[in-house]
């Protein structure tokens, strides 16, 4: 499977550190395929990640890669993009990284509608630290810090980033590899802040504790729960309970931050010359 995309991997870093059956490798390949199809110059492409199992992904990719501090990938990426707007930036982040400690940077990047492409590897758990619940762990599910089932309500992350100002919001799963690739491509083509949430599996820190016997069972669960957004529109809320709505969930129109900045400097230049 790597053959067609191996030029984008740092092959000498493989095999990766992820556990057997972990979804990260699958989702990562989707991202790489998307970049390949986008025909982005490898030298002009940057992959920024936070901290978490998923965020380890950046080290395996042969781009300009930056593995930041926990939750802060988007803030680092904002600096890079503003400093050098010609770079194409992808941000890899986990559910915890993006929505727990990184929640503020997520909504502010969305508000600015800055041209960054975020892929959220949502395995519903803090994988790296061994299975504590995250803001995206479904209620009642178990985690090491929710031994009696979590009592917290998870975010509807897509709704949140839409409300915060993202202009492209999509969702897929590790099972739906082709869809994932397509959605990432479309997100990248959106000039603005694009978020693609990919439901992935963590068999070790989440699956085991929540009655998934094998990684394959988790992938199958993803297949079963997925409802394409078009179909979902004609379904009742109760029917959608617990389902994963996939596809392009939202597209908005708003000025992109770096372009606005460029316009400002342009305007100032013209004013200065005009005087």
């Amino acid at each position: 499977m790597l053959a067609d995309i191996e030029e984008f991997y740092r092959l000498d870093r493989l095999p990766h550190i992820w556990c057997p059956g972990c979804g990260n490798g699958i989702v990562l390949a989707c991202l790489v395929k998307a970049i390949k199809e986008l025909k982005y110059d490898q030298d002009k492409t940057v992959v920024v990640s936070g901290i978490g199992c998923s965020s380890r992904a950046s080290a395996y990719l042969d781009f300009n890669t930056l593995h930041t501090t926990h939750g802060r990938a988007l803030a680092f990426a904002t600096g890079i993009k503003l400093a050098k707007p010609e770079l194409n930036i992808f941000v890899i982040t986990g559910d915890g990284d993006s929505s727990a400690i990184g929640g503020n940077h997520l909504i502010h990047a969305a508000r600015r509608n800055i041209d960054l492409n975020v892929v959220i590897f949502n395995n519903n758990i803090y994988g790296m630290t061994g299975g504590q619940y995250s803001p995206l762990t479904p209620k009642v599910q178990k985690a090491t810090t929710a031994p009696y089932g979590t009592i917290e309500r998870p975010f509807d992350l897509a709704k949140l980033v839409e409300a915060a100002g993202a202009t492209y919001v999509a969702r897929s799963t590790a099972y739906h590899t082709r869809l994932t690739t397509e959605l990432i491509i479309n997100g990248a083509k959106n000039k603005g802040f694009s978020v693609t949430e990919v439901i992935s599996q963590c068999p070790v820190s989440y699956g085991r504790r929540n009655r998934f016997n094998t990684p394959a069972a988790m992938l199958e669960w993803q297949r079963e729960m997925a409802v394409p957004v078009i179909k979902a529109r004609s379904m009742a809320p109760e029917e959608l309970e617990g389902k994963i709505i996939t596809g392009e969930l939202y597209r908005g129109h708003a000025p992109e931050y770096v372009s606005e900045y460029t316009k400002l400097t342009q305007r100032l230049k013209e004013e200065a010359e005009g005087v």
Partner: protein, 201 residues
């Protein structure tokens, strides 16, 4: 001896339950009335790669808590063997899961090759029990802790409904070990230079 001390290293891969085995061993030693320290390697390492648990059992105080040169090494995967094989004290016993460890380099002590994973799969229908089979074998060979307390410790650490399975696994390991010892014509191994020495070769 003033400070009979035995240092054990258990190694394998992240998912094999090596650390749990180490904890049970340590707990059994506590029940035996020994001093004990148990340590392990954590983190991303414990994800894909080699993983280890160490147990020091001693009649005296244990200050420095780490194992440098174990008196006995259990290697449950090839990678674990490759990584830790050399650390074993010269002349001391090596236990390998022969299902997964295919190549063993130059060794100076006895090697106990037991098809641990195969036993678990074939006799118990549960590969996941390999760690318990290994632990049974290790204690069977070294008698580092009493069997009674090993069982007690194990049953207190595993889910109730798996008690039977785990007991069987331990016993399966012990039997395999005893069979080997019988071949050698001994009852057990000394564990450590300043040995706890429950038996002698």
């Amino acid at each position: 001896m003033s400070n009979p001390r035995c240092e054990i290293r258990l190694s394998g891969s992240g998912g094999q339950g090596i650390i749990l085995a180490g904890i049970i061993l340590a707990e059994a030693a506590v029940l035996d009335g020994r001093n004990v320290v148990q340590t392990q390697s954590y983190g991303p390492e414990a994800r894909g790669g080699a993983s280890k648990a160490e147990v020091i059992i001693s009649a005296g105080e244990i200050d420095y808590p780490k194992v440098a040169e174990p008196d006995v090494l259990l290697a449950m995967t090839q990678e674990a063997y490759n990584r830790y094989g050399d650390s074993l004290r010269k002349g001391y016993p090596l236990i390998i899961d022969s299902t997964l460890v295919q190549e063993v380099g130059q060794v100076t002590g006895p090697v106990y090759a037991i098809p641990i994973t195969t036993l678990a799969r074939e006799k118990l229908g549960k590969e996941m029990s390999a760690n318990m089979v290994a632990l049974g074998a290790l204690v069977g060979l070294t008698q580092a802790v009493t069997w009674e307390h090993l069982l007690k410790a194990a049953l207190s650490r595993v889910p109730k409904d798996t008690a039977d399975l785990n007991q069987k696994a331990l016993e399966l390991g012990r039997e395999a070990a005893q069979a080997r010892l019988k071949q050698q014509g001994i009852n057990g191994l000394a564990c450590g230079k300043e040995s706890l020495g429950l038996v002698s070769p």
